[in-house]
């Protein structure tokens, strides 16, 4: 360590000379000033600090940091700090760093007392609620203009979004919902085997998939895939000032960007859900026939008998509600995104978390209502 490479010379009156040699680079660690401080305290008559660098002296910003601290201590003790004995580059670098720094306090509009902080939080919450309501209102108005044939958006963009959130998701939806059907069939088989009623696996898989599981599984997948993509796309447009460019042109970003996305997802979610229902039933059917040895015709007939039209409608209502939730969450988070890469990441995460939370809450509400009305 560098401390071994300082020696102190008191040959001049009221002066301490620091004789510096050796390695004073960052790779050897930041040199402490304690030893010098101890010397200054032991010799209270010191009025000047000087330096003599010699021999194999190597330095970088570690040495500058040491000098910076020592200069501050000298200033406090009113000791003159002379750097003449050091290399010229060291002196120049040290001069670049102001001896005294002043912390700049931002000129905030509001003072930050405790009450202000509490009030600020309440106002932030109110602002967040108003902002969501404002966004929902703007989206509603955009749809109203769309219904009146006045909305301005690119039809090509709409069809590309339909393809991205619909057809492009089929592979993932197929895999996951097929496996959900398989899992439901296996779980049902364990319980129903005890009663010799394994054929009712068809009822369990059919009703569960069509009534709610198909819609929920599709919603979770679409939320992570499309909802996150909406938030990221709009967030990056916010960062790149593309949304500002629309606003200055007098184009409503909600009409141009949000409405086609909401519309596309609201159309595609029920279709994806129907597809997911079918894949889930196929998964359950495959396991039941090939692994559990059930009769395929009997399984098919049981499914047809068990799954009522009301179940199908309920599944479609779920999927419509989920589509609205995912699209609104993704677009809202994207439009409100901060103008930084961190902001885009946060918007994407937040879109997925918000939509999945809202999906669970909506499912609970719909299930409760169905229970009350006896559907």
């Amino acid at each position: 360590m560098p401390l071994e490479k300082i020696t102190f010379d008191y040959s001049k009156p009221k002066t301490i000379q620091l004789m510096i040699t050796g390695d004073w680079q960052l790779s050897a660690g930041l040199p402490p000033v304690n030893e010098v401080l101890a010397q200054l305290e032991a010799h209270s008559d010191i009025e000047q600090i000087g330096f003599v660098a010699s021999g194999d002296f190597k330095w970088d910003s570690a040495f500058i940091s040491f000098l910076f601290k020592l200069r501050a201590i000298s200033g406090q003790k009113k000791i003159q700090f002379g750097t003449q004995g050091l290399p010229a580059q060291v002196e120049k670098l040290l001069k670049l760093i102001p001896a005294q720094t002043k912390k700049i306090i931002p000129d905030k509009i509001t003072e930050e007392s405790f009450l202000d902080k509490v009030g600020g939080r309440v106002i932030s919450l109110k602002d967040a609620v108003l902002s969501i309501l404002d966004f929902l209102g703007d989206t509603f108005l955009a749809f109203k203009r769309f219904a009146g044939g006045k909305a301005f958006f690119r039809k090509d963009d709409f069809f590309i979004i339909v393809q991205k959130c619909g057809a492009d998701a089929l592979g993932l939806v197929s895999l996951i919902t097929l496996l959900v059907g398989v899992i439901l069939a296996f779980i049902g088989a364990i319980q129903l085997k005890m009663f010799g009623a394994q054929i009712y696996i068809a009822d369990i898989v059919g009703i569960a998939m069509v009534r709610v599981m198909g819609a929920i599984m599709t919603a979770v997948l679409v939320s992570g895939r499309t909802g996150a993509s909406f938030a990221a796309e709009l967030g990056i447009m916010q960062v790149n000032e593309e949304i500002d460019a629309l606003k200055t042109l007098g184009v409503s970003p909600v009409e141009f960007l949000v409405m086609p996305r909401v519309l596309a997802l609201v159309i595609m979610m029920p279709l994806l859900t129907l597809y997911a229902d079918l894949m889930g039933i196929i998964g359950g059917f495959t396991v039941s026939v090939t692994v559990l040895g059930l009769n395929p015709v009997e399984y098919f007939n049981h499914t047809l008998t068990a799954v009522k039209l009301s179940n199908l409608w309920l599944g479609l209502i779920h999927s419509f509600v989920f589509g609205v939730i995912i699209a609104i969450s993704g677009c809202y988070r994207g439009m409100e995104c901060e103008r930084s890469s961190v902001g885009v990441g946060e918007a994407t995460t937040s879109a997925v978390v918000t939509s999945i939370t809202a999906i669970v809450i909506a499912t609970a509400i719909i299930t409760f209502v169905c229970q009350v009305i006896g559907v």
Binding site: P106, I160, E242, A245
Partner: protein, 253 residues
């Protein structure tokens, strides 16, 4: 010359922080007005308020005598249709080709047929030397080309007011010079009133008819006038330091 834009007692804030207080200046019709200042002094915040993106804390901005922030949204939109804005990075819509980017304002606010719009698009792209790149997407262009394409889009509706946010930032000297020449051509040939936010000294002296220097410490304007006159006559060390890159008085620590 007639006043096109007047800023009166303007206070600006960004993320709850006051960045500018009591700002006053006038932009004459058909001139190139430079808003200059160091990084973080509030130039871009001022520009955003001037183009209708951020409301001011206090004060007025008048376009041809009409108070921009004291009218309803519809009326403000009408004024904004007379704006052309070139954003710092071009802000081209990434899912649209260059020709689609330039065509969009025309589709919105003109009664031209599709083929007429295509003619105007090619004319505007030709004006910035990008007529051969009409079918390219923004991601396929260099930074300088994106800016030029952004300018073509800003010019689509022959705006009365053109705003530039750091037009030379990130450009090589030749591209920056080309853009400066283009700005001068726009003033001379279209008669547009041009407001440029920049801290590029070469551009300031090359194109500025009038300028204002914003200062982060005082949160206000510390000088106003023709850039050459400011440099020749001012005794304010902050101004001289800024206009000489710190090489004359007021420079350094």
């Amino acid at each position: 010359m007639e006043t096109a834009v007047e800023v009166k007692n303007l206070d600006l804030a960004y993320n709850n922080f006051i960045v500018m207080r009591g700002l006053n200046f006038k932009v004459k019709k058909g001139e190139i007005f430079i808003i200059m200042g160091g990084s973080g002094c509030g130039k871009s915040t001022l520009l955003k308020t001037m183009i209708g993106l951020n409301p001011p804390q206090e004060g007025e901005i008048l376009y041809n005598g009409l108070n921009f922030w004291d009218i309803d949204e519809q009326e403000r939109q009408v004024i904004m249709r007379r704006f052309g804005v070139l954003y710092q990075g071009g802000a081209l819509w990434s899912s649209l080709t260059l020709s689609e980017n330039v065509a969009l304002p025309l589709q919105l606010y003109s009664n031209l047929s599709v083929s007429q719009i295509q003619d105007v698009v090619l004319l505007k792209l030709g004006l910035v030397g990008l007529e051969d790149y009409a079918d390219f997407y923004p991601a396929e262009l260099s930074g300088g080309m994106k800016k030029r394409a952004g300018l073509a889009r800003a010019l689509a509706l022959d705006p009365e007011f053109i705003f530039f946010d750091e037009p030379s930032a990130g450009l090589d000297p030749l591209s920056a010079k080309m853009l400066d020449d283009l700005i001068l051509d726009l003033r001379d040939n279209l008669g547009a009133t041009i407001v440029v936010v920049t801290h590029e000294l070469a551009s300031i002296f090359a194109i500025g008819d009038n300028a204002i220097l914003l200062d982060a410490d005082t949160k206000g304007a510390i000088a106003q006038g023709r850039p050459e006159d400011l440099l020749a006559n001012s005794k304010d060390p902050r101004l001289i330091s800024f206009l000489t890159r710190g090489e004359k008085q007021g420079a350094g620590r």
